[in-house]
Amino acid sequence: MEAKRFNKVFFLEKINDIKRYIDLLEILVTRHLKVRYRGSILGVYWSLLNPLILTGVYTAIFGAAFSQYYNNSILNYCLAAFTGLVVVNFFSSCTAQTLLSIVNNGTLLNKIKIPISIFPVSIVFANLFHLIVGAVPLLIIFTLVTSSNILNALLLLFPLVSLNFVCLGIGLIVSSLYVFFRDLHYIYELIIFVLWISSPVFYPSEIVSDNIRPLLNLNPLVSIIQSLRQITLSGNTPDLSLVWSSFFSGIILVVLGLICFKTLYRKFIDLL
């Protein structure tokens, strides 16, 4: 009887915790967006500007050299570069912001009891919002034009969800480690650059020598970019093995991120 009552109380408390977590998440995400877009006319579309400009630059410089790998079409190269850039750009800006998120809120964490994970998670959600209003409509249009099949557009969800899982996982890891190692952001810049250059964003993966190419698959962004391109640009039915492998890398990284965060978070408060 007593145990039953205890269970009920425990359950109600859990529900309350979840409700509070959602409230906090909502308020932190809106705060983030409001701060970021205060007084800028283009608002959320700034986040699209970066990949668009870079696509132009890459097409101008590499388009002629690489278009032979894309059925001799500069337009195909341009679209491939854009889809790759959306992914890589999202990843680098999202995780770089997440890295700082726990340390930057250290003062607040020292004053009020707040679940620590809310800070990295809210950054990923805020970035997801940019992605949804910025690049996703364009990707949907590409998909509908090339395949004229609604199902393909729906399947776009999988590489995008995987991308966010990858960002969340890596974000949890780097934001946790940054509490202990405050020079991590210099090193992380280098890591981002390595991931950037090892993702076939502006070059076709065929130009990489056969010995090296399998190594590229260690980069979790590669399968996401491939899957996204296959769905948006090929016009064929989505390749489920690509979808699955991108999803798989996302799940693995989220689990790794959670394990890393769970083992470390009790030690954070002494160092904030």
Partner: protein, 241 residues
Amino acid sequence: MEVIRLDHVSLWRRTQEEFSYDLKKTILNLVQGRYRSPSKKQILNNIDLVIHQGEKVGIIGANGSGKSTLLKIICGIFTPTSGTVRVRGKIAPLIELGGGFEPEISVVDNIIFYGILLGFSKQEMKGKISSILEFAQLEEYAEIPVKALSSGMTARLGFSIATDVKPDILILDEVLSVGDAHFQSKSKQRMDQLWQANTTVLLVSHDLDFLQKTCNSAILLDKGNIKFIGSVHEAIKIYLE
């Protein structure tokens, strides 16, 4: 009714000054075999404490005796290294006012933000906006970003939010006195109301006269140990010796 109960609570914390926050240095030290695991220091030692509903408890002690740490343990910011902490009811820490504001967003948004941090739902906070603005005398500033307010106005806003929430347990780290003469008398009235209501109050202060006037019991901390619990008068006497 018991609202706060601490059983054998001890807390060890890592000392920050010895810690190298540096990956490069840590790796170098590891390579050269000079790495030491960070040292820890005992901040609270075997604290037993029971506080009942409606009690007003003052906490005194020298700097570094663990007063604020004790409050933070009760708030749940620190988890004790050993022992258990049980708290019944909603706690509102009167945190350093204005510390949690986001300067770029509007006063109203900050009210909601702050309230949710304190543990209220968005709906509840929406209902409180007008009374908070009115008490802070900031009705005309509702949509203005907080960075445009003067420091006195910001402090008034912080006070109004933190005291409007009517918590079961109020935690005060040093008493607040903010704003101009008019606002100070208003804020004093409000503190009196909170005091008279059945709120449990925990107060850290070096203002011994104020403690004597307002609290009905006191805790004297010395180097992380409870040296004395009981009447305010006696606690102060021991403390001054």
